[in-house]
């Protein structure tokens, strides 16, 4: 009897031995910091004087700080603009390049390069391309097309727009692949049947292609929206939040508060708010897609 129960205990223990390294690392570098961040968000964090309880004080500071409010506006504008722009361009790319020929495969491979490139590299390269002088590459292209030179990222009025353009350039190829997979999955006999009924290409797009792409589009939108809220590297590399705070987003503001101004309490409160927003958005997306599955 004893050996049987001992064996059962051992068998129950085995999975946990396999889980142990992962759980240990998750607690040390994910959940530990998360809890510590939540704790710090309620304190005025001082290294030598000891922490001072503030209650919701840090949250009030964040939400009443005009620069955070501006940053929130920029983050949402960038999120919506980049997501929709990348969806439309990605969809157009997919429709343009659907096919099996070698030349199309070559173009697709080249177009896909931004997806495998590190965001920081993309940012640095575009910073040079968008150099705001006459001799900058983008201005030379504009000049060749007979358009006036631009200040791009240095003009507070247009900087956010150009950050968005670079974001779309980066994300569109990824969407292209997802949508392309959706297009390839459409049953070809539907097209044939539609042709027999004398359906035009426009009607075919509206009634066959778009409905079939709905799952792909919902994946694209969910992923993009959640990622867009915590956008940091692109903005940090391209503009650092400038000029004059014109492209400041939630994470760049949090970063400069936490690491430059060393105001850990307020920066933690901003991070917790970001976490809450991400959680809410994820849950909403989950529920929305699940409802669709049931329907």
């Amino acid at each position: 009897m004893r050996t049987v129960s001992a064996r059962r205990v051992r068998r129950g223990l085995v999975p946990w031995l396999f889980l142990a390294p992962g759980l240990l690392l998750a607690f040390l570098f994910k959940f530990g910091p998360m809890l510590e961040g939540i704790r710090m968000s309620f304190f005025k964090v001082q290294v030598f004087l000891g922490d001072e309880w503030l209650g919701l004080g840090n949250y009030v500071t964040v939400l009443s700080d005009p620069r955070f409010v501006d940053a929130l506006g920029h983050t949402l504008l960038l999120a919506v603009g980049t997501t929709l722009g990348a969806l439309v361009i990605g969809g157009a790319l997919a429709l343009l390049m659907e096919g099996t020929s070698c030349r199309l495969w070559f173009v697709r491979t080249a177009v896909f390069l931004p997806v495998v490139t590190a965001v920081a590299v993309i940012g640095e390269v575009w910073r040079v391309i968008l150099f705001p002088t006459e001799s900058g590459f983008a201005n030379q292209v504009l000049g060749a097309l007979g358009l006036p030179a631009q200040q791009f990222l240095s003009d507070p009025d247009t900087a956010l727009f150009w950050v968005m353009v670079v974001g779309i350039w980066t994300a569109a190829p990824y969407n292209m692949v997802i949508i392309l997979a959706g297009l390839v999955g459409i049953d070809r006999t539907l097209y044939e049947a539609a042709a027999v009924d004398g359906v035009s290409i426009a009607q075919r797009m509206r009634h066959i292609v778009l409905p079939a792409l709905r799952p792909a589009v919902s994946v694209v939108l969910t992923l993009a929206a959640i990622r867009a809220l915590r956008i940091f590297t692109e903005v940090y590399v391209l503009t650092g939040g400038g000029p004059a705070g014109a492209t400041e987003v939630w994470m760049t503001r949090t970063f400069s508060l936490g690491f430059d101004a060393n105001d850990l309490g307020v920066a933690s409160a901003a991070s917790v708010l970001l976490l809450l927003a991400t959680l809410t958005l994820t849950l909403v997306a989950r529920i929305a897609t699940r409802r669709k599955e049931l329907a």
Binding site: F18, M34, L113, L180, S218
Partner: protein, 303 residues
Amino acid sequence: MTTLDEKLVVRRDRRVADGRFDSALGWEPGFRASNVLRFVLCAVVLCVFAVPFVLVLSGAFDGQNDSTALRLVPAEPSLAAVATAIDRGVLGYFWNSLVIVGGGLVLQITVAILVSYALARHRFRGQAVAMMLFLITMMLPEEIIAIPLSQVIGDVAGTGISLRGTPWGVILPVAVWGFSILVMTEFMKEIPREIEEAARLDGVGELRMLWTIILPLSRPVLGVVTIFGFMMIWDQYLLPLIAADTPDDYTLTVALSVLRVDARTGSGVLLVGALLALLPSLIIYLLMQRSLIRGIASGATKG
């Protein structure tokens, strides 16, 4: 589930039948106005997406480089910028990146294999909770926990051990990645149980079961997890930035901002750095294109 590649292969055989039904927009083969338009559009798209990469390549080997001008072909081919970049320690940054991506990837995949094996091939109390914990880590990316994580890297769990300035400061935090665990668990669940039961009757232990039976059967998903893990670690910016003690600890991607301007070669040094940072991504992409496309596309079909 048929993959994109398989579908494309199947379709290639049928293509001869009728081009009109082969794509959503009904592109047809042959010389016609719509194909001329398509060719022009593809050329424009190719320019928009490929030209920045050509500019990097050309700028890195251009001797005559003021701080802004970029050309499609070097005006004065030279290795001056490369030499300056090496002078300024670009190889050191590159080495930091390689150590971190190598160590991080090995650890990340090992953790994913062990965790997925337990979650997919065992039934035990607390299983749902464990799965949930690993899924939650996906919602805690570096950005969201950056502030406290920086403290933790300086003093791990109150032990006084500091990882700051060492590769471990980046390797350990990227080791648990919900995505790779999720993808691998889903895959391992599909492996038929009969294979495992037969081996168990022969008295095969847990580790050997994983190593000799489950792992070889999981090779397709290992490809997906490897390329996505590589991209995830190579793309890290905030984490190496906060884990660094001095700029010498920067990974190449972070160090690019240090290389932005150079009195002699203008943006040439930056572009050499960018080129070096691009190379591993390009190599991995060209080697593992199938796994990458399959991984991205499977997200779409799951919807």
